[in-house]
Amino acid sequence: MAEDKTITLTLKVWRQKNAEDKGHFEIYKAKDINENMSFLEMLDVINDTLTLNNQTPIAFDHDCREGICGSCGAMVNGVAHGPVSGVTLCQLHMRSFNDGDTVVIEPFRAKSLPVIQDLVIDRTAFDRIIAKGGYISVKTGSAPEANDTPIEKKKADASFDAAACIGCSACVAACPNASASLFVSAKVSHLVLLPQGHAEKKRVVQMVDQMDKEGFGGCSNAYQCQAACPKEIKVENIARMNREYIKEKSIR
């Protein structure tokens, strides 16, 4: 195996004490960063140094570091989750950067996703949207035999692709209108594509109304959400959500 390459970067990191603080950029040198590190491991190294110098480390949410929990995320040089498409920040590795690069790191920004500290944001709006109908109502114990209802493979696969959403909110951060349409439509699609999810027609209206109430913008077809989505969820889900919404509204 070849020796690991190391690089040195200049980081401009958003520091904000709390929700009330205005916030500002701080500049840090990231020296001798092993290119096999993940982006978050690089931040760990910076935080170790800050701690040893009695400075407060950079706060950021993260957990599984496998790209599935949806906790992590930041704007890296203006791009949600950084320069590699189809990956979360924790799966971005330093080999995607060059020695001497300057890297600007900011939180995902949207009125409905307020900053808590540094790169940590409040995404509870997403939970409130799910609570309005992002489920199929089935009481534990009442389910029929699983194979009673065959599901066309194409539909099952499309449902899975939409269900792969990790709720990271990169779509909101990338959207010029800070719309949560990709997130909401992914859940609507996941459920409506399955026969089990057909009965609950009100779901789409309730979820979309809650999205509006939370202050997320509408979709104006910028497609930035699709480009930013680490799970490569497609904007066709938004079209499906809009169709379902209109169908449900016009039937009444």
Binding site: M37, T51, N54, D63, C69, R95, R123, T124, D127, A146
Partner: protein
């Protein structure tokens, strides 16, 4: 030494649960809303329990330290969930899943629990499909299955390599529905710091609001812990960064016995350790062993690239040693064999890695089929390592993954503290000394959807619970202790980071209490851990104050690992036998397999906290009536 009683019902093992369900006391629907239940944790077990208890009408308060319940680490489970549906017509049955699980656990699990788990497995699949979990399907529209280790039937249901995600989202969504219905009150960014016991019963918890740093008191009629395992005691593991032992450890210190802490699962197929900077390890699903072949070069010192090593100079050691199970032997065997090969110097480039090779499968089935089965795993591998597994074999090595040990619970999932129930990975109950692949998801959901909703009613029906509020002095006492500890941590202002100590502890227990253990090493660890702990309390640097402070959160968790690690090593030292994931080098067969000592150790160790002294041992005897004790064989 006291004997622990499982409280399982009498009768044939296959009828126990049905009989018990009838014998248990019930709670009138109108009375349920007057009963408050605290659930800690929102993984598969916690979310499914919260949803189901909410549906029943209980007043449920659910706590998670995550910003959203959906972030719990069950989300990262990849491969699948077992169920005895026998859709493949390959001879599966509840009896066979029961048998495989008891055998796979190396005869250290409670038969009655395992049978109930196998019975529930089929209902779990029905329920999850009804919830909209998009399991993989065949062209005809029916559910697909694949194989996992330790079984010769295909009974694993899956959703690509994201089964845990889909099951957790199902449970999370069901819980959010109850949040909307106001039967469940969800507290996010809220970490349990202590258990409150009043008059010998679990009556509440102390919680730290992670946003404000404030400590809160919450009282209830019963407490349910579903807080996962303690694999992060090893620092490097496949667990998520925040996974910790705090809730179960604090409950242990309040009187809940800790069972079999030395049973830890080292998963055979993980991406090998790369450098000192590494923060965690990444699993490559066991499902890959359906189509991947494990091998090392025949000759020590053969450092040629994989493609230059001819077929007859490779050792497919699992296929060679275990012809009937081949690459699909249980995890403990696969891991130990990888270690054996690298100990012999036959690891890749002489290091700590072996090959997991898909070349044959790609040739036989085509790249498209392999991509459809494992695409996201292959992508993940490439992102992390920078090499393409379609072209050259994966390099893998075992890593800490799951912990079979946990708080001791009886058949009702109740701990030794009345009213404290423990679910999922946090309890010890079903996997014995080694968990089979695709069984963790099954157990978490069985506990949460189908067991606790029944057994907690029985607890309420059989106990006269007086009213307890947070005014009880026990709440203030617990809160003050927590506050004192936090003050202590932020005032040390030492010269080393929290991670420094965590790493040091992790390396030590990996070395002395990892894939192979011996008396001398364990004694050394037991001497060393208190020293690391003392240094931690003397010299750790927790920057910032008592408010939103991620360093402080981590420090509290590592402080508990520094206590728990000692109990884990003590248990490993005490258990003078090898079984499943617990391999004492002093106890092995001539072929190097785990050698159990059924005469002296056919029991569950339930450790009792003993302030300032060595924990006291209590035992639950295990009897095997339906799966007779035998030396496991996968040859």
């Amino acid at each position: 030494m006291a004997k622990l009683k499982s409280n399982e019902p009498s009768g044939p093992v296959s009828e126990k649960w049905e009989k018990h369900k009838f014998d248990m006391k019930l709670v009138n629907p109108a009375n349920k809303r007057k009963l408050k239940i605290i659930v800690v944790g929102t993984g598969l077990a916690g979310a499914s329990a919260s949803a189901s208890l909410g549906e029943l009408g209980y007043n449920v308060h659910t706590f998670t330290y995550h910003e959203s319940a959906r972030r719990a680490h069950s989300i990262a489970a990849q491969g699948g969930i077992n169920a005895a549906k026998n859709y493949c017509n390959d001879g599966d049955s509840v009896q066979r899943l029961f048998f495989d699980t008891v055998k796979g656990g190396d005869f250290r699990a409670r038969e009655a629990n395992v049978h109930r788990l196998a019975e529930n497995s089929v209902k779990i699949i029905d329920h999850c499909v009804a919830q909209g979990v998009p399991f993989a399907r065949e062209y005809g529209g029916l559910l697909d299955n694949r194989s996992f280790g330790g079984a010769q039937v295909s009974r694993t249901f899956y959703a690509k390599g994201q089964t845990g995600q889909q099951l957790l989202l199902g449970a999370y969504q069901a819980m959010m529905k109850e949040v909307e219905a106001k039967t469940v009150t969800l507290h996010t960014r809220a970490e349990m710091m202590d258990l409150v016991v009043v008059d010998g019963k679990a009556r509440g918890i102390i919680v730290r609001n992670l946003l404000t740093g404030e400590l809160e008191k919450h009282a209830a009629d019963a407490v349910v812990l579903a807080t996962g395992g303690y694999g992060n005691v090893f620092y490097l593991s496949t667990n998520a960064m925040a996974c910790n032992v705090t809730s179960t450890w604090r409950a242990h210190k309040k009187g809940a016995y800790f069972a079999n802490p030395c049973y830890t699962q080292i998963h055979p197929t993980c991406i090998p350790v790369k450098g000192d900077y590494q923060s965690k390890l990444t699993l490559m699903s066991e499902s890959l062993r359906n189509d991947g072949r494990v091998w090392v070069p025949n000759a020590v010192g053969d450092h040629r690239p994989a493609k230059d090593i001819p077929e007859d100079e490779r050792d497919y050691y699992l296929e060679r040693k275990y012809p009937s199970f081949g690459n699909l032997v249980p995890r403990d065997l696969a891991s130990r064999n990888a270690k054996e090969q690298t100990d012999l110097g036959k690891g890749i480039n002489g290091g700590l890695a072996v090959y997991l090779d898909f070349a044959d499968s790609i040739k036989r089935l085509g790249k498209d089929t392999i991509e459809a089965r494992y695409g996201n795993l292959f992508d993940m591998y490439q992102q992390i390592t920078g090499t393409n597994p379609y072209e050259s074999p994966m390099m893998i090595y075992p890593a800490v993954h799951y912990t079979m040990g946990g708080l001791w619970v009886d058949y009702n999932l109740e701990s030794t503290i009345p009213g404290l129930h423990v679910l999922g990975e946090a309890n010890f109950s079903d996997h014995g000394a080694n968990r089979l692949g695709a069984s963790a998801l099954m157990q978490g959901l069985s506990d949460g959807y189908f067991i606790i909703p029944n057994t907690i009613g029985h607890y309420f029906g059989s106990n006269d619970l007086g009213k307890v509020t947070t005014d009880a002095p026990e709440f203030d006492e617990a809160l003050n202790n927590v506050q004192e500890k936090i003050n202590q941590l932020v005032n040390i202002k030492g010269s080393k980071t929290v991670d420094h100590f965590h790493r040091e502890l992790g390396l030590l227990v990996w070395d002395k209490c990892g894939m192979a253990r011996d008396k001398a090493g364990l004694e050394e660890a037991l001497k060393r851990i208190p020293e690391i702990r003392d240094e931690f309390w003397d010299n750790v640097n927790v920057t910032g104050d008592g408010q939103f402070n991620q360093t402080l959160e981590k420090a509290g968790r590592v402080a508990d690992f520094l206590e728990f690690g000692e109990l884990m090593c003590q248990d490993a030292l005490h258990r003078e036998e090898s079984c499943g994931g617990h391999f004492r080098t002093e106890h092995q067969t001539k072929e190097g397999e785990a050698l159990r000592n059924d005469d002296d150790f056919c029991f569950v160790s339930g450790w009792e906290y003993n302030e300032g002294k060595k924990a006291k041992l209590n035992t639950e005897d295990l009897t095997f009536k339906d799966v007779p004790l035998s030396q496991r064989s996968y040859k």
